[in-house]
Amino acid sequence: MAPGEKIKAKIRKNLPVRGPQAPTIKDLMQWYCLNTNTHGCRRIVVSRGRLRRLLWILFTLTAVALILWQCALLVISFYTVSVSIKVHFRKLDFPAVTICNMNPYKRSAVGYLLADLDKETNSALESLYGFSEAKPRERRETRSRSSAWEGTTPRFLNLIPLLVFNKDEKGKARDFFTGRKRKISGNIIHKASNVMHVQDSKKLVGFQLCSNDTSDCATYTFSSGLNAIQEWYKLHYMNIMAQVPLEKKVNMSYSAEELLVTCFFDGVSCDARNFTLFHHPMYGNCYTFNNQENATTLSTSMGGSEYGLQVILYINENEYNPYLVSSTGAKVLIHQQDEYPFIEDVGTEIETAMSTSIGMHLTESFRLSEPYSQCTEDGSDVPVTNIYNAAYSLQICLYSCFQTKMVETCGCAQYSQPLPPAANYCNYQQHPNWMYCYYQLYQAFVQEKLGCQSVCRETCSFKEWTLTTSLAQWPSEVSEKWLLNVLTWDQGQQINTKLNKTDLAKLLIFYKDLNQRSIVESPANSIEMLLSNFGGQLGLWMSCSVVCVIEIIEVFFIDSLSIIARHQWQKAKEWWARRQAPSSPEVHPRQRGQDNPALDIDDDLPTFTSAMRLPPGPGAQVPGTPPPRYNTLRLERAFSTQLTDTQLPSEP
């Protein structure tokens, strides 16, 4: 044996080539493939034949790709929710019930404020449609129109003139009061004409809103004079009422004793003291049942109409304002205790001379907030300040957003929403052109130009009461006589006349049954599930585990890098040595690098570097790297020989 071979054999004997210390990356790979726990790699190395090896490479790579793809899918679909619906039968909290008369203020009390406006509306109606009487039934004192006109010049019609447009004359309108024809400049906005095709009528009624310098005007026309006049009236009404202090307004509206004739809850009598006042700008005094602060929320433990709220309401039609409200009755809203009652948006209307029974079913929904969905828990992460004294809701956010924008743009606040801090309600005296500003802003708001709709988010959990409303005649014919008498006696303090059937409405609100449905979202995946799904994927395709991953990191990154670094270091060292000793150019640099003259062959254990620097045997081929023998990876033969004495003796 050549001395080189001999030394090599000795090195091989004494220096086991472990994975990390493998001479080249190829060796390392081979070592890895043979010893790894994953299944595919080993096949690549041990397969005989090129095709088979290629196939195994292909399979392994496919498996790796599949694992990566599936795991990516798992990660992407991590934030999904599963929905469960639960039903509980239990004692339920009764919701807060807000009841409003449709008419905000008693005409007798508020009449002096609106007298001028009513007069002008009346005259406008007369000149436009030839109608001369718009008085409520009992206040039919004849009042000549001419006398109303003489004396004062009309304030309201001057401010915002009602105009009649003739289709034939484009851009011209007739001011009905002065009779003058006006040239209309600026844009004419037909209400809702973008959405629906308005039938071409000869006459269109509208009004013009101008900004301060009157050059920039917007004219609003309506397809029906009814809408035009109501809208026009409402604008003025808001303007007038905005200047009245709250206490005065509360006094002008209905008292709880007046509105509620009888009250019965859960088999026990209740009265006006169980209701809290809530003043709504457009509905006047509203009363909320079961929303008392520092009192516990009432609950029902029985379903059925007699265990719910039963009230008889007194709706005095004589006190109705003919231009502001055109329907009679009450509005009722069922809501949560801390929720703001948006009575004008989501109320149920109650008819007079009827018994309205509203059966409820409670459904609770809980959604998961970020990152599962866009909803918000309590609105604290929505960049809109809540100007309402109530818990956050989407509607509150939208209105707050609009009101804030209104204060920013127009300098004053809109009447039907609460006041933001340090702002006043709009009125003519201080803000002469607020209406124009308001209409512009409102248009922008509806068209989602203000960005409120994108900023506001819905709440994550809400309670919903599904209502089944049914009507019945009340009082019945035979009981009408005695019932009205007793009710008149009950209401004796408030009114002197005998009650009429059409002044009363009966309302029953109750839980149909005590089943409460909860729709709960819960995360469909947890970290454990994700990991076990990873494990399943890894195991299915390659029988791999985290240990394998650690191995891969160890081998492919740490060890490969160290091998590369070692090679580079060696190269750098060679290069340095060449520069230091350029005296021997005849020696092939490669050979020189491998040749180590300092190496003395002794019996000491060679280091790895010394082993690598061995000069190759003169005639001998450089043997290929033998398959590494990582002894430690082998199954040990500690018990390789079964000892004979433990075997059963052949003959006993």
Binding site: K13, D266, G303, L471, V486, S545, D645, T646, P652
Partner: protein, 639 residues
């Protein structure tokens, strides 16, 4: 059979000779040969890495155990997932129950209520116009009813000394100021005096309005009267089906009042149920829309209402499942006279899994309350349970049953003659929160919950133009008279039909089944350690081996103790630790029978030492590759 003695013999042999291999050997062997990924690494790396892998393996094993615990916990929480399906399919048309708001026809029931009505009228007069003397009328009244539970006027004008005035008795006493002469509703409250124990213990039930007071009082008295009448007679007093149901059309099939099942419902008198499914198969409906539903024309006969009992006029209506009892007072809706009410129906069904997934009962057999509605052969419902529970409490506390609920066998309904205290007792029980909560906690909801979601709409009917001929035809048909016997105030038209989507079914299914659990357990074990069930079996095997070694060692130890007592104590030098370690760590170490002197000292017994220990079984098949030489093994350890 031969194997067992053989096996035992082998075991005995082992016991005599000692284990043959040590814990350490066993452990090393296990680590080397196991299929889980971590332990192998501990053995084959250098000391630093060995420590690292040891920690990692322990950590991963801990993680696996923890995650398994989490999964098993999740599984044992019996969560459910729901699936929702909706659409249209041919379904059984719901049972439709129709009642009148007034329980009885006043013309037929007048003789029973005569005294009470006179009393009531006098009472109203006294409340409304106290100035006028009513002494004459009062004499003629039957005051026995009144004296049982009188209404009183509580004068609260002096808040510290409220004056209680009996509405009738004071009028006899002319010396006192006329009661409530200057009293208005705001100052005087009407209250009901309820007495028990022969009038010794009295309480007042206060009302904020006189309307409620007189209504409640009247209902209480009427209940007393009707509870003394037999059921058959009461049925006679109610509205008969042929008078109430004028026309009926189901799809294209004509139907009549004969297709309705009549039941007596104490609140509303005679109720009629269409398609209850008790006797014959339930009728299906295969098409959506009003044309294919049930069309009914009813006459509620409003002019014959009991005036003080029915202040609301209309038909009472309820949709419910076949073979369930209609709790129409709780879940019914009104249909107004003089209108056509169209009801689009969607069946909202919730099907639950029952125990242990959700606390519900399949058929009510596991509820501790006797279902009194069993007489009707209806299925269990929570309303039935609650009502039975109330009646049960009523019978226990007041020793008589309430008129509104069915009676258990052998009990009687409450009335003033036999049970003078019943009103006091009943009203106390009615508002008792404790009673309700007991009932709610005792009754379980049933697993299948069906709700009929209704979309109601109304229109005036008949129209003014068609009114004449419609009334004429209907009068002719019912009464065979040429005169119009019907009026707008009594006639009700109903259309009940399926909507375009007629069902929405929410069905529960177990969210986590055993397959889910196993695959997750496998996933976790595979993810962290690359293990499987076989690895667990391997581990178990090793544990058994450990125990076996321990047993053998114990036996040997005991033996040696006994022998030591008998013989002189062992005098030779004890084996050093280094020798012991060498014996266990050197894989090249072969228990050589020739020169064992150093190693075999590890075993306690010198005398019997020539017997070497049993090595673990030689699992050749588990090896990955055959080893080249034994020599190389020893080299590996030498580094």
């Amino acid at each position: 059979m031969l194997r067992v003695p053989k096996f035992l013999l082998k075991g005995l042999h082992r016991l005599q000779k000692g284990p043959g291999y040590t814990y350490k050997e066993l452990l090393v062997w296990y680590c080397n040969n196991t299929n889980t990924h971590g332990p192998k690494r501990i053995i084959c790396e250098g000391p630093k890495k060995k420590a690292m892998w040891f920690v990692i393996t322990l950590l991963f094993a801990g993680l696996v155990c923890w995650q398994w615990a989490v999964f098993i916990q999740t599984y044992l929480s019996w969560e459910v997932s729901v699936s929702l399906s909706m659409g249209f399919r041919t379904m059984d048309f719901p049972a439709v129950t129709i009642c009148n708001s007034s329980p009885f026809q006043y013309s037929k029931v007048k003789h029973l209520l005569k005294d009470l009505d006179e009393l009531m009228e006098a009472l109203l007069d006294r409340i409304l116009a106290p100035e006028i003397s009513h002494t004459n009328t009062t004499r003629t009244l039957n005051l026995t009813i009144w004296n049982h539970t009188p209404l009183v006027l509580i004068d609260e004008r002096d808040p510290h000394h409220p004056v209680v005035l009996d509405l009738f008795q004071c009028s006899h006493n002319d010396s006192s100021p006329a009661p409530g002469s200057a009293c208005t509703a705001q100052e005087c409250k009407v209250a009901m005096r309820l007495c028990s124990f022969n009038g010794t213990l009295c309480t007042f039930r206060n009302f904020t309005s006189a309307t409620q007071a007189v209504t409640e009082w009247y209902i209480l008295q009427a209940t007393n009267i009707f509870s003394q009448v037999r059921r058959q007679e009461l049925v006679e007093l109610g509205y008969p089906g042929e008078r109430m149901i004028l026309a009926c059309l189901f799809g294209t099939e004509p139907c009549s009042y004969r297709n309705f099942t009549s039941i007596f419902y104490p609140d509303y008198g005679n109720c009629y149920i269409f398609n209850w499914g008790m006797m014959e198969k339930a009728l299906p409906s295969a098409n959506p829309g009003a044309e294919f539903g049930l069309k009914l024309i009813l006459d509620i006969g409003q002019e014959d209402y009991v005036p003080f009992l029915a202040s609301t006029a209309g038909a009472r209506l309820m949709l419910h499942e076949q073979k369930t009892y209609p709790f129409i007072r709780e879940e019914g809706i009104y249909a107004m006279a003089g209108t056509e009410t169209s009801i689009g129906v969607m069946v909202d069904r919730l099907q639950r899994k029952g125990e242990p997934y959700s606390p519900c009962t399949m058929n009510g057999s596991d509820v501790a309350i006797q279902n009194l509605y069993n007489n009707f052969t209806t299925t269990y419902s929570i309303q039935a349970c609650l009502h039975s529970c109330f009646q049960d409490h009523m019978i226990r506390n007041c020793s008589c049953g309430h008129y509104l609920y069915p009676l258990p066998p052998g009990k009687k309904y409450c009335n003033n003659q036999d049970f003078p205290d019943w009103a006091h007792c009943y009203l106390k029980l009615q508002v008792s929160v404790a009673q309700r909560e007991t009932c709610i906690s005792m009754c379980k909801e049933s697993c299948n919950d069906t709700q009929y979601k209704m979309t109601l709409s109304m229109a005036d009917w008949p129209s003014e133009a068609s009114e004449d001929w419609i009334f004429h035809v209907l009068s002719q048909e019912r009464d065979q008279s040429t005169n119009i016997t019907l009026s707008r105030k009594g006639i009700v038209k109903l259309n009940i039909y399926f909507q375009e989507f007629n069902y929405r079914t929410i069905e529960e299914s177990p969210a986590n089944n055993i397959v889910w659990l196993l695959s997750n357990l496998g996933g976790q074990f595979g993810f962290w350690m690359g293990g499987s069930v076989l690895c667990l079996i391997e581990f178990g095997e090793i544990i058994i081996d450990f125990v076996w070694i321990t047993i053998i060692k114990m036996v040997a130890f005991c033996k040696s103790l006994r022998r030591r007592r008998a013989q002189a104590p062992y005098t030779g030098p004890p084996p050093t630790v280094a020798e012991l370690v060498e014996a266990h760590t050197n894989f090249g170490f072969q228990p050589d029978t020739a020169n064992h002197s150093a190693h075999t000292e590890a075993y306690s017994d010198q005398q019997t030492l020539p017997i070497p220990g049993t090595p673990p079984p030689n699992y050749d098949s588990l090896r990955l590759q055959p080893l080249d030489t034994i020599e190389s093994d020893s080299e590996g350890e030498a580094i």
